[in-house]
C-alpha cells in the first residue's frame, strides 16, 4: 500500500515540476514578463477578462514565448520517452537516442529532406519528420544488428556500434551541408539544437507524430516489464517478443525523429531523465515511461532557461546545456556499469 501512495505522489510531483518549469520558461527572456501578467493573460484568455496588461506582452507571449515553450516541452518529452523505451528494449540503461546513433540517423534523414527543399510551410515541415524517421529506423536496425552478440546486447558493443554509425551519419550530414546551397547553413544552427524555426507551425506539425508515438510508448509498460527477463523468458511467458520489439522501435524512433526534425540533435536528455525517474520512483516501465515523458519536458524547459540566462542577452543552444549536464552523468553511469553494481 505504501507503494500506491508513492505512485500517486509521483504523478502530482512530476506534473507540478513540469508546470512550474513551463511558467518559468515563459517568464524568462530579453523582455521579462511579470508572472502576474502571464497568469492574467493565460487565465484571461479562458475567462475573456484581458485586464490592464501591456498589449505587447500579449504578442510576445502568444506568438513567441508560448509556442517556443510548447515545442521545447514536446521535444524533451519525446527524447525522454524514447530514451526510456530504448533502455527497456535493449535492456541497457545507457541506451538513448543520441548514444545509439538514432538522433544522428534522424538528422541525416532530415537534412536530406531539407536539401531537397527547405521547409517553409506546414506541409513541408510535416515531411521532414518522415524523412528523419526513415533515417532513425535504418540507424537503429544497423546499430542493433552490429551490437548484438548472440542473444544479448552488451553495453560496450552497443555504445561502440552507436558511436561508429553515428559518426558516419554526422559525416554524411556535414558533407551534404558543404555541398549544398547556403540555404542549408540555417541547418547548421538547427543541428546544434537551437530552436530557431519559431511560431506555432512546428508545434502543429510535430504534434500528430508525438501524440501517436508517446501514447503507444506510455501504454506498453507492462509487456516492456516482461521483456526485462530476457527474450527467452518473455517468450515462454507468452509475449510475442518480435512484434513488441518492432512496435517499440517504430514508436520510439518516430518520436525521437520528430524531436530531432524540429529541435536538432539534443544529447543525453533520453539518458538522464529516465535514470532520475528510476532512482526516484523505481524501474516499473508502466510508470517509468509516462513519468519520464513528463519529467523530460520539465528538464528541457529548465535547460532552455539556463541556455538563455547564462550569457544573456546571447542565448546558447540548449543542446550545449544538456550535453554539459549529460556527459558527466553518462560517464558516471558507465563507471557504475563497469563496477557492475546494478542500475536502478
Amino acid at each position: 500500500m505504501k507503494k500506491d501512495r508513492s505512485a500517486r505522489w509521483s504523478w502530482s510531483a512530476a506534473l507540478l515540476v513540469l508546470l512550474s518549469m513551463a511558467l518559468l520558461n515563459i517568464a524568462v527572456g530579453p523582455v521579462s514578463l511579470p508572472f502576474r501578467d502571464v497568469m492574467a493573460l493565460l487565465l484571461g484568455k479562458l475567462t475573456s477578462i484581458p485586464g490592464e496588461v501591456n498589449p505587447t506582452f500579449a504578442i510576445i507571449l502568444y506568438s513567441i514565448r508560448l509556442p517556443n515553450m510548447v515545442l521545447i516541452a514536446l521535444t524533451g518529452m519525446a527524447l525522454a520517452g524514447s530514451g526510456a523505451a530504448f533502455q527497456g528494449l535493449f535492456r541497457n540503461p545507457l541506451a538513448d537516442p543520441y548514444v545509439i546513433g538514432v538522433a544522428s540517423g534522424a538528422g541525416l534523414g532530415a537534412v536530406l529532406a531539407m536539401a531537397a527543399s527547405w521547409p517553409a510551410d506546414f506541409l513541408g515541415m510535416a515531411v521532414v519528420p518522415a524523412a528523419a524517421f526513415v533515417g532513425a529506423i535504418l540507424t537503429v536496425l544497423l546499430v542493433y544488428s552490429i551490437a548484438r552478440v548472440g542473444r544479448s546486447t552488451p553495453v560496450t558493443t552497443l555504445i561502440l556500434a552507436g558511436v561508429a554509425v553515428s559518426s558516419f551519419a554526422t559525416a554524411m550530414t556535414s558533407l551534404i551541408m558543404l555541398l549544398s546551397t547556403e540555404e542549408l547553413h540555417r541547418a547548421v544552427n538547427w543541428m546544434v539544437g537551437g530552436f530557431s524555426l519559431g511560431g506555432w507551425t512546428p508545434v502543429l506539425a510535430s504534434i500528430p507524430y508525438l501524440a501517436v508515438g508517446l501514447f503507444f510508448l506510455s501504454l506498453l509498460g507492462r509487456p516492456l516489464n516482461v521483456l526485462q527477463f530476457g527474450d527467452d523468458q518473455a517468450r515462454q511467458l507468452g509475449l510475442n517478443v518480435e512484434r513488441l520489439k518492432i512496435t517499440l522501435v517504430i514508436a520510439a524512433s518516430m518520436v525521437a525523429a520528430t524531436a530531432v526534425s524540429f529541435s536538432g540533435i539534443i544529447a543525453f536528455v533520453g539518458l538522464v531523465v529516465p535514470h532520475v525517474v528510476r532512482l526516484l520512483w523505481g524501474p516499473d516501465y508502466r510508470r517509468l515511461i509516462p513519468l519520464a515523458i513528463l519529467m523530460g519536458g520539465a528538464f528541457l524547459l529548465g535547460a532552455d532557461v539556463i541556455a538563455r540566462v547564462v550569457l544573456a542577452p546571447r542565448a546558447l543552444p540548449v543542446g550545449l546545456v544538456t550535453a554539459a549536464v549529460g556527459a558527466p552523468f553518462f560517464l558516471y553511469l558507465l563507471h557504475r556499469a563497469k563496477a557492475n553494481v546494478g542500475f536502478w
Binding site: K3, R91, L219, L220, R222, P223, N225, V226, Q228, F229, G230, D232, Q233, R235, Q236, L237, G238, L239, N240, V241, L244, G282, P283, D284, R286, G342, W344
Partner: protein, 257 residues
C-alpha cells in the same frame, strides 16, 4: 495433459544438439532429464517449451502441436521455471508473479482482480506470500526460485518445465524445493519435466528418468533401472557406485574408485 515429444531434433543455426528425442510426461508425473554438462539439457527444455523451434519432429501438449500456435497460446499450456540468473533485481516479487498472467492479457490490458487473486494463491502455494512486496534482487537463491515457480503457477498451465531448479541451493532449500515440486505434480496433476545435475536428487524426486548422452537419449525408465552403474559409467566416463539408501531404499549414487 500429456507432454509428448515425438522424434524431436533441436539445436541452433540448423545444427542439432539433440536428435531423435521421444519422450512422454503424463499428468501427475515427474520426469527428470540427466546427463553430463553440455549434453543439451537446457536446449531440451527450450525445445519442449516451444520457444526453440524443433528442427524435426513434434512437441505436442494434449493433441496440440506447439509449433503451430502463437506464443500466448503456448504459454497457456507450458510454463518454464528457468534458473534464477540475471533477474531484473528491482521488481517486486508480486509483480514478477503477476507476469505469469501475460498470456491472458493483451499488450494494453492491466491485470484485474482475478489475476491478482491467482497470483496471491500462487505465492501462498509456494510459501512466498511474505515476500510479495520485496524486491527479487534482495531475495536468497531459494526464495527467488520459489517466486519463479509461483510465476509459472500463475500461468495455470498443465505442463511445467524446470531447468536446474536446485542449482546453488543448500541442502535445506533443495529439500524444500523437492517437496514443493512433488506436491505440485501430485496435487495439481501437473506434467513436470525437470533437468537436474544431482543424481541423488533425481533418484528421490523423479518417477522416470531420461538419461542423455552424445546428442540423444541413452536410456529412459524408472530411476532404479536407468541409474545403474554401467549406464552411468558409460555416459559420465567415470566409475560410479549405486547402493540402496539405508533408510528409504532409494538408489544412492557415489562416484569414485
Amino acid at each position: 495433459m500429456i507432454l509428448d515429444l515425438q522424434n524431436v531434433a533441436c539445436g541452433y543455426f540448423d545444427t542439432p544438439v539433440l536428435r531423435e528425442i521421444t519422450l512422454q510426461v503424463l499428468p501427475g508425473e515427474i520426469v527428470a532429464v540427466v546427463g553430463p554438462n553440455g549434453v543439451g539439457k537446457s536446449t531440451l527444455i527450450r525445445a519442449a517449451s516451444g520457444s526453440l523451434k524443433a528442427l524435426e519432429g513434434q512437441v505436442l501438449v494434449g493433441e496440440q502441436d506447439l509449433a503451430k500456435i502463437s506464443a500466448p497460446q503456448r504459454a497457456k499450456r507450458v510454463s518454464v521455471v528457468s534458473q534464477a540468473l540475471n533477474l531484473p533485481e528491482a521488481f517486486l516479487a508480486m509483480d514478477v508473479v503477476l507476469m505469469g498472467r501475460t498470456p491472458y492479457l493483451n499488450w494494453f490490458e492491466r491485470e484485474n482482480q482475478q489475476d491478482r487473486e491467482i497470483a496471491l494463491a500462487a505465492l501462498a502455494r509456494t510459501e512466498t506470500e511474505d515476500l510479495a512486496e520485496r524486491r527479487i534482487g534482495e531475495l536468497s537463491g531459494g526464495e527467488q526460485q520459489r517466486v519463479l515457480i509461483a510465476r509459472a503457477l500463475a500461468q495455470a498451465t498443465p505442463v511445467m518445465l524446470l531447468d536446474e531448479p536446485t542449482a546453488h541451493l543448500d541442502l535445506r532449500h533443495q529439500e524444500r524445493l523437492l517437496r514443493l515440486i512433488r506436491s505440485l505434480s501430485k496435487q495439481e496433476q501437473l506434467s513436470v519435466l525437470v533437468t537436474l545435475h544431482d543424481l541423488n536428487l533425481v533418484a528421490r524426486l523423479a518417477d522416470r528418468v531420461v538419461l542423455l548422452s552424445n546428442g540423444g537419449i541413452h536410456s529412459q525408465g524408472s530411476p532404479e533401472t536407468v541409474l545403474n552403474p554401467d549406464a552411468l559409467a558409460d555416459v559420465y566416463g567415470i566409475q560410479i557406485y549405486v547402493m540402496a539408501h539405508p533408510i528409504n531404499g532409494n538408489p544412492l549414487i557415489l562416484p569414485g574408485e
